[in-house]
């Protein structure tokens, strides 16, 4: 890694050296990706638990930038069970979106690469290792098995095509075989009605700029649901919307999920939305998972100091506090991560071992895991009692 003169300063020479090294690394990755006719056996895998639809296993996604390597996702492990909603929370820049983009393999290449770890995707009769799957196979999976609802409905739609054409394109690409124009239109209108657009015939012929934010978000959702995906990634689907529209969209997502029995990976920084939607919650901080568990575990027994801080810093209607709690300090620089616990510098509950290496995951209960030294003792006790039992 580059030597530092002042904070964040890189000489042109150093920057060139880094980018040369980066090119070498990314070229190797790209070469591996671009091979033709990869046999299916190479990316065929087994789910560890057939009840899961996606398993992230020690995923590392790095960005090789000219200023140094950004470890955007650094060892993330969690599962998305079939028919459940998993909420991913964290501040901006903590790697929530990069995790989901790794699953879609939509990272900004060649700088962004999945360097190690596995993402296993359940396709029903078989399972794929997404990171090793070649592009042409992935194209059949994206939008079909896994689909994504993007963050900003204002920019996710193409301004020069009609709404109908944009949704039909998805259907035509994935399960349009044997469908004629009329059937495709009927299906599109059915989708628009499913997401609660009353004037579906009219909207079919409209351009995106003629719709309001909430309506556009519905169209984006309709597009994502066009092929009855097994996994829906919702990347901050309601952040740009008003509370009343947000409530409508959340209701809609919940109902649709039950209707087509798919799993949702719900990414947001709004804890209120997570509490409403999620069965399981994953809290991320600086590229790692600091705590994960069921919604009940996280909201009623938050364990990690960061989770606790996050909960306290949000004002809640009906709960009057004189002064809001605010987490001191700021997120460490993603290029130069410390080698101790990333949260130590901002933590008010530090204990002696915190200066040691990054804490590993501790099991508090069967569903609740946390990466914090404060729970090492509790976990040891739990383990010993389990052995006795």
């Amino acid at each position: 890694m580059a030597k530092k003169k002042a904070e964040g300063y890189l000489s042109a020479k150093e920057s060139r050296r880094i980018s040369r090294e980066n090119r070498k690394i990314t070229k190797a990755f790209e070469k591996k990706r671009k091979r033709k006719n990869v046999p299916e056996s190479e990316y065929l895998t087994q789910m560890h638990d057939p009840k899961n639809s996606v398993e992230f296993d020690n995923l590392h996604t790095y960005f090789y930038t000219d200023a140094g390597t950004v470890k955007a996702v650094d060892g993330v492990t969690f599962e998305v069970p079939i028919g459940k909603t998993v909420g991913v929370v964290g501040e901006s820049g903590c790697g929530k979106s990069v995790t989901s983009l790794s699953l879609m393999q939509l990272l900004q290449r060649p700088q962004g690469q999945v360097t190690s770890g596995e993402i296993r995707l359940n396709l029903g009769d078989k399972a794929y290792e997404v990171t090793k799957t070649p592009d042409e196979v992935l194209q059949k999976i994206r939008g079909n098995v896994v689909s994504m609802i993007f963050q900003e409905p204002m920019t996710a739609l193409n301004p020069v095509f009609r709404i109908g054409a944009q949704i039909e394109e998805v259907i035509a690409l994935h399960d349009g075989s044997g469908m004629n124009e009329h059937q495709m239109k009927a299906r599109t209108i059915e989708l628009l009605e499913m997401v609660g657009i009353a004037n579906s015939e009219g909207v079919y012929k409209m351009f995106p700029h003629e719709l309001s934010g909430g309506m556009r978000q519905r169209v984006v959702i309709a597009m994502a649901l066009a092929c009855n995906p097994r996994v829906i990634i919702a990347d901050e689907p309601t952040t740009a919307l008003d509370v009343t529209i947000q409530a409508q969209i959340l209701d809609l997502l919940r109902n649709l999920k039950d209707k087509i029995n798919s799993s949702i990976m719900f990414i947001t920084h709004d804890l209120g939305v997570i509490a409403e939607m999620a069965d399981y919650v994953v809290v991320m901080y600086a590229g790692r998972i600091v705590e994960k568990g069921t919604a009940d575990d996280i909201f009623h027994h938050p364990a990690h100091p960061y989770t606790i801080g996050l909960m306290n810093s949000k004002p809640v209607v009906g709960k009057k506090v004189d002064k809001l709690y605010s987490i001191p300090g700021k997120v460490p620089n993603p290029i130069n991560m410390p080698n101790y616990c990333y949260f130590k510098d901002r933590c008010e509950m530090c204990v002696a071992p915190c200066s040691g290496e990054y804490p590993c995951e501790v099991k508090i209960s069967d569903t609740h895991f946390v990466s914090c030294y404060r729970y090492y003792d509790a976990a040891a006790i739990a383990n010993s009692t389990r052995k006795e039992g």
Binding site: V243, G272, A278, V317
Partner: protein, 343 residues
């Protein structure tokens, strides 16, 4: 011809208020319409009624929250009060008893430092070409608020108040994070030693943990300098935390207005009820009865007749479709504009 143009006539009848010294700001039936141009020879063919009759009084040293959906005219109301969006269309804005729109340009210039605004987006409201010291100090120098010799110390003091370091002075906005940029915006507004600050969604673009820092900062500064805030936001939980009084806006009008506690404990207007029921609560066991509003907000260029909310209201009566409701005081200090509360 004149009958065709009846919709262009602006109804500007209101009862003028007299100045009450306990209020720093009195807004009476404020209207701001934006003309829609059209036709072969472009002429005004209609109005977008962005702010359509807003009335409230603001006590010195308190915070009023202004909430509502996007497009309901919150921001325009804030800007019109500060005389930042051209001329008003109707109504009164009394700042310390002085009608803001009667001032000559020279007098207005002298008034400006007293009333400031913190803009919504800290990423686009700071000039990328000016160093932070200049951003904060420019207006101070223009208005000759401090002698030249004390200028540097004064800026340092303001930056320190807002949680910025003095060595940040020579840096440019792009070198700062979102939270820090918002601090710069706050410092810029406070440098002029204002009495009244419009905070236009100051925390919407920020993360939860940064949000808390900025809210705490605003509250500290309010106590220190006895500031009055008009806090515009669509985040109801933030508004409940920071405000003393709350106004709920729908389609350019204030539908309910009162003490924060009254409004949140006992919302009266059907729109307020629906809005509050939509707030997500960070508790997985909490199952609330949600009032889902049908449809979307009507166009402000062609608002519904009678009560503007009647197209989406669950308690709509016949009278709502015909007659515009008047503001009524239900409890002391708690006003609502709804036919349900007619005697």
């Amino acid at each position: 011809m004149s009958e065709n143009n009846s919709h262009l006539v602006i109804d500007n009848t209101f009862e003028p208020v007299t100045y009450d010294p306990q209020y720093i700001l009195m807004v009476n039936n404020l209207k701001k319409y934006f003309p829609i141009k059209g036709g072969l020879i472009p002429h005004t063919i209609g109005y977008v009624k962005a702010v359509d009759g807003v009335t409230f009084n603001l006590k010195r040293g308190t915070t009023m929250g202004l909430v509502g959906e996007s497009g309901c005219g919150k921001t325009t109301a804030g800007r019109t009060i500060l005389r930042l969006s051209g001329e008003k269309t109707g109504g009164q804005v009394l700042f310390n008893g002085q009608e803001v729109y009667d001032l000559s340009p020279k007098e207005m210039r002298a008034m400006r430092p007293k009333m400031q605004i913190i803009f919504q987006d800290p990423f686009s409201s700071l000039s990328p070409r000016l160093p932070v010291g200049e951003i904060i100090g420019e207006a101070v120098r223009e208005h000759n608020l401090v002698p030249k010799a004390e200028f540097d110390d004064y800026i340092d003091q303001i930056m320190d108040d807002c949680g910025l370091q003095s060595f940040h002075k020579d840096r440019y906005p792009h070198e700062f994070s979102g939270g820090q940029r918002q601090r710069i915006c706050i410092a810029r507004a406070l440098a002029l030693n204002p009495e009244f600050v419009v905070c236009d969604e100051p925390v919407s673009a920020l993360d939860v943990s940064i949000q808390a820092q900025i809210i705490n900062l605003l509250e500290e500064l309010q106590q220190k300098h006895n500031l009055t805030y008009l806090f515009i936001s669509h985040d109801l939980s933030v508004v409940e935390h920071i405000s003393d009084t709350v106004g709920v806006m729908y389609l350019g009008s204030l539908v309910e207005y009162g003490e924060t506690e009254d409004i949140f404990r006992n919302p009266l207007h059907p729109y307020t009820k629906a809005l509050f029921s939509a707030i997500p609560v960070p508790d997985p066991d909490f199952k609330m009865k949600r009032i889902v509003l049908e449809g979307s907000i009507p166009s402000p260029a062609n608002p519904p007749k009678g009560c503007k909310f009647h197209t989406r209201c669950a308690n709509c009566m016949d009278i709502c479709k015909v007659e515009t409701p008047q503001q009524r005081e239900i409890e002391p200090g708690h006003y609502v504009v709804c036919h349900l509360f007619d005697e």
